[in-house]
Symmetry: C2
Subunit: 235 residues, 2 copies
């Protein structure tokens, strides 16, 4: 059954314009057809189309189900957007598929990318949420300076900063992460975090980690970290 | 220092044509400059350019180091190439970065892609090997029918088949994989393995697994499985 995203479906029984267009013009669904709708807030609605025309698509809600994130902890990835935006988009899509709660694009001293079109990236999150049968849209922050992130996020759970600089001792993320813990993982840009950024994070209580012996691109590091958390949570 | 791939560097002290072009014309390296060369067989050579012109680039070997794969087990991914080749190429690149020994593209009943240009894919493997500072080029098989794979690979280690079909009981890959084991993981196409293919694999001794509660695209499943093995091997 086709699945649509409509954050306000309970108050406004219409599919948003783009979803309606796709529903009516592309998929050619009509009155009486059933569709699934997610609101991005953890709810899945079985709906029936009550009217469908070229302008909009109205539905009635048949059933509402809770579809909470299944991984039992809050996972936040803080990551420097890559110069090549495709790579960053790929990382976002894969993180949503595997399961992530919040993504904070971070601006660092050695950041290759200093601007971000968050609206376009949100579409990727929505698409990945629907494709992977989730009902909760991860929070995607605006591009945030690293010092602001260091001083504000995840104080109730574990916080890790992953970097390549071998001069500052690191532990293994996979050994440090405690199954079921809320967690924030920070991953730096292509040129790594600066020594000052690393020290500021450590001073704020972040645990310094390596993701293993392989040298990973930024976007690969993001995906590996998410996969590692989910792997440990399944053990 | 710049790194090049030259499988025959010990016998023919020349960089292959494409590498030579890049070295001489793009990077403008010259006599006396030092470069790193990997042979794809686990060796890293520190070399010095002895002559560089528009046709070729000759080097002398200064030092040879062994750079064996660091993950201590043989990891084989058997995966159905995706309809969208970009997605498959991402999966290959990310798998090489994290560490993989052999990739077998597999042809299944519900395969969306039934042809593959292995030569082009090998370039991606070479590039990822160089970028991730490895010296061993993973083996990339030709597209192989699934029954041939089932009957031939990995009998000395663990063998897993991952699928979505809920009617045939599955265990959790992350709980089943034994740290340090050689392992083969099979991942099916967008439409999943057929029931016959699953049963044939189980009859041949493959362990049926799920990668977790998230529904992953084929290429994401491949990357997740590789990441999970590396995560467990680091514990």
């Amino acid at each position: 059954m086709h699945r649509f995203y409509a954050p306000d479906i309970e108050t406004v029984n219409l599919l948003p314009e783009e979803e309606a267009q796709h529903c009516v013009r592309v998929l050619r669904l009509k009155e009486g057809d059933q569709v699934e709708v997610v609101d991005g807030k953890g709810h899945l609605f079985l709906c029936e189309i009550v009217s469908a025309n070229h302008k909009n698509c109205a539905v009635s809600i048949v059933e509402k189900t809770d579809v909470a994130p299944h991984w039992g902890c809050r996972l936040t990835v803080v990551i420097a957007p890559t110069k090549n935006i495709d790579r960053f988009e790929w990382m976002l899509e894969k993180s949503v598929e595997m399961g992530v709660d919040r993504i904070i694009p971070v601006l660092c001293r050695y950041s290759e990318r200093k601007q971000l079109k968050t609206e376009r990236l949100n579409k990727i999150l929505v698409s990945a949420m629907k494709q992977s049968l989730k009902a909760t849209l991860p929070q995607l922050d605006e591009l945030t300076p690293v010092m602001d992130v260091i001083n504000s996020v995840g104080k109730d759970g574990q916080r890790f900063i992953a970097y390549c600089d071998k001069e500052i001792p690191r532990r293994d993320l996979v050994k440090e992460y405690k199954k079921g813990s809320d967690v924030v993982i920070m991953i730096g840009p292509e040129g790594d975090f600066s020594k000052e950024e690393i020290r500021a994070a450590l001073d704020a209580g972040f645990v310094p980690v390596t993701l293993g012996k392989s040298r990973l691109r930024t976007e690969t590091a993001g995906v590996f970290a998410v996969a590692a958390v989910h792997t440990i949570n399944q053990l």
